[in-house]
C-alpha cells in the first residue's frame, strides 16, 4: 500500500509542482492587498500553466521536437514518433509566454495609472479614496 502510494506520487510529480505553483499564485491574487503583488501572483499562476502544458508534451526518453536529420527533402526511413516530444504544447506555450509578457505590461500600466490618480496601490486605500 505504502509503495503503491509512493509510485503514484512519483509518477505524477509534474502535476504536483504545477499545482503548488498554481495555488501560490491564486492565493497571492486573492489575499494580497498590494496591486503589484497581485500581478506577481498572476505571473506565478501563468508559470504554473506553462509548466503544466510543457510537461504534458514530454515522452520518456524523447528529445526536443526537432528532427535529427537536418536537411531539406525526404527522410528515407520511417520517423519514430516516440523519439520526439509532443510539439503542440510547446507551440501553445511559446505564444502564451510572449502574450503573458504583454498582458503583464498592460497590468503594470493600469497600476501606474491608478497610482497617478489615487496616489497609492494598496487596494483598501484606493477603495477609501473612491468613497470620498
Amino acid at each position: 500500500m505504502m509503495e503503491e502510494t509512493l509510485t503514484f506520487i512519483i509518477a505524477k510529480y509534474n502535476y504536483w509542482a504545477a499545482l503548488v505553483l498554481l495555488l501560490i499564485g491564486l492565493f497571492a491574487m486573492i489575499s494580497k492587498n498590494n496591486l503589484v503583488k497581485k500581478v506577481i501572483g498572476m505571473s506565478i499562476f501563468q508559470s504554473a500553466i506553462i509548466l503544466f502544458y510543457v510537461s504534458m508534451g514530454e515522452k520518456r526518453g524523447s528529445t526536443i521536437p526537432v528532427l535529427l536529420e537536418h536537411g531539406h527533402g525526404q527522410v528515407d526511413h520511417a520517423i519514430d514518433v516516440a523519439a520526439y516530444a509532443n510539439p503542440l504544447p510547446h507551440v501553445l506555450m511559446l505564444t502564451a509566454i510572449v502574450v503573458g509578457v504583454s498582458t503583464l505590461g498592460v497590468a503594470l500600466a493600469i497600476i501606474q495609472k491608478i497610482h497617478r490618480v489615487h496616489g497609492t496601490i494598496e487596494e483598501d486605500e484606493i477603495l477609501e479614496s473612491i468613497k470620498e
Binding site: 510537461s55 515522452k59 526537432v66 510539439p87 500600466a109
Partner: protein, 249 residues
C-alpha cells in the same frame, strides 16, 4: 480576508488534486495529448513543409491563424499601454519625482554594452533565421532584439536610443510586422489558395510547393519578430518613464 482566501485556495487545491489523479503519468508516450494530431505533425512536417523543427512548422504553418492573432494580441497590448500611459511632455506633474538625469557616464557599463550589443543583435538574427533547423523563430528572435534596445536604454539613456530609433518608428514597426504577416496571408489568397496557404507562393518564388511552405514560414516569422521587437521596446519605454519618455530608469 486571509482566512477566506486560504479556504478558497484549499478547496480549489483539493478539486484539482482529485482531477490530477486521472491525468496521464509523467513521460507517458501514449498520453491522449500525444496521440491525435501530434504524430501527424512529427511525421509529415519535413515532407510537407521542409522544416525539421516541428515547433516552427506547427506555429507558422499548421496553426498559423492562431499565431497571427497572437501577434495581434501583442500589438493590441502595446497600443493599450501606449493609450493608458503616454502623454505629451510636461502637461501634468508626475506623482513620483523622477531621479535627476544622470550626469556623466558609467564607463564600464557603457563600454560593456557597446561590446555586447552587436553580438546580441547578431544572435537575435541567427535565432530568427535558424528557427527552421534549431529551437528559435520569430518570437524568440524578436524578444532578443528588443532586449538589446532595452539594454541600450538602461545603460545610456532614452534620448540616446531615440536618436537611433524614434518612437514613431517603433510604433510604425509594430504595425508593419502584423501587416507583413497578414499580407503574406492575403497574397496567398490572391494567388488562388486559402488564406496563409503558402503553397500558392511557389508561383512567384519559382520553387516547389514544399519549399514555398518553408519560405512562407520564414516570411511570417520575420513579421512576428518585427512586431515583438517593437512592442517589447514600446512597453519598456512607456512603463519605465511613466509615459513621459524622458529619463527612464
Amino acid at each position: 480576508m486571509k482566512k477566506i482566501a486560504f479556504l478558497i485556495t484549499l478547496a480549489i487545491g483539493v478539486l484539482l488534486l482529485r482531477a490530477a489523479v486521472d491525468l496521464p503519468d509523467w513521460g507517458d508516450p501514449n498520453s491522449p495529448a500525444s496521440l491525435h494530431v501530434s504524430p501527424y505533425y512529427i511525421t509529415k512536417s519535413l515532407e510537407e513543409t521542409a522544416v525539421p523543427n516541428f515547433v516552427t512548422s506547427v506555429l507558422a504553418d499548421y496553426r498559423s491563424y492562431d499565431t497571427m492573432f497572437e501577434t495581434t494580441v501583442i500589438f493590441c497590448a502595446g497600443i493599450t499601454v501606449l493609450t493608458l500611459l503616454r502623454r505629451a511632455r510636461r502637461v501634468s506633474k508626475k506623482v513620483i519625482k523622477p531621479r535627476p538625469a544622470r550626469k556623466g557616464s558609467d564607463l564600464i557599463l557603457q563600454n560593456a554594452v557597446r561590446l555586447l550589443l552587436p553580438t546580441i543583435q547578431l544572435f537575435a538574427f541567427y535565432v530568427l533565421a535558424h528557427g527552421h533547423h534549431s529551437p528559435g523563430g520569430g518570437f524568440q528572435g524578436g524578444v532578443i532584439l528588443g532586449a538589446g534596445f532595452i539594454l541600450l536604454a538602461i545603460a545610456y539613456d532614452m534620448h540616446m536610443v531615440f536618436q537611433r530609433l524614434r518612437e514613431k518608428t517603433v510604433l510604425l514597426l509594430s504595425g508593419i510586422g502584423v501587416a507583413i504577416y497578414a499580407g503574406i496571408g492575403a497574397l496567398c489568397l490572391v494567388l488562388g489558395k486559402n488564406f496563409l496557404g503558402y503553397a500558392a507562393l511557389s508561383r512567384i518564388l519559382g520553387t516547389t510547393e514544399v519549399m514555398a511552405h518553408s519560405d512562407g514560414i520564414l516570411g511570417v516569422e520575420i513579421g512576428v519578430a518585427i512586431t515583438v521587437l517593437a512592442i517589447m521596446f514600446s512597453l519598456y519605454i512607456d512603463l519605465a518613464s511613466g509615459g513621459d519618455l524622458d529619463e527612464g530608469l
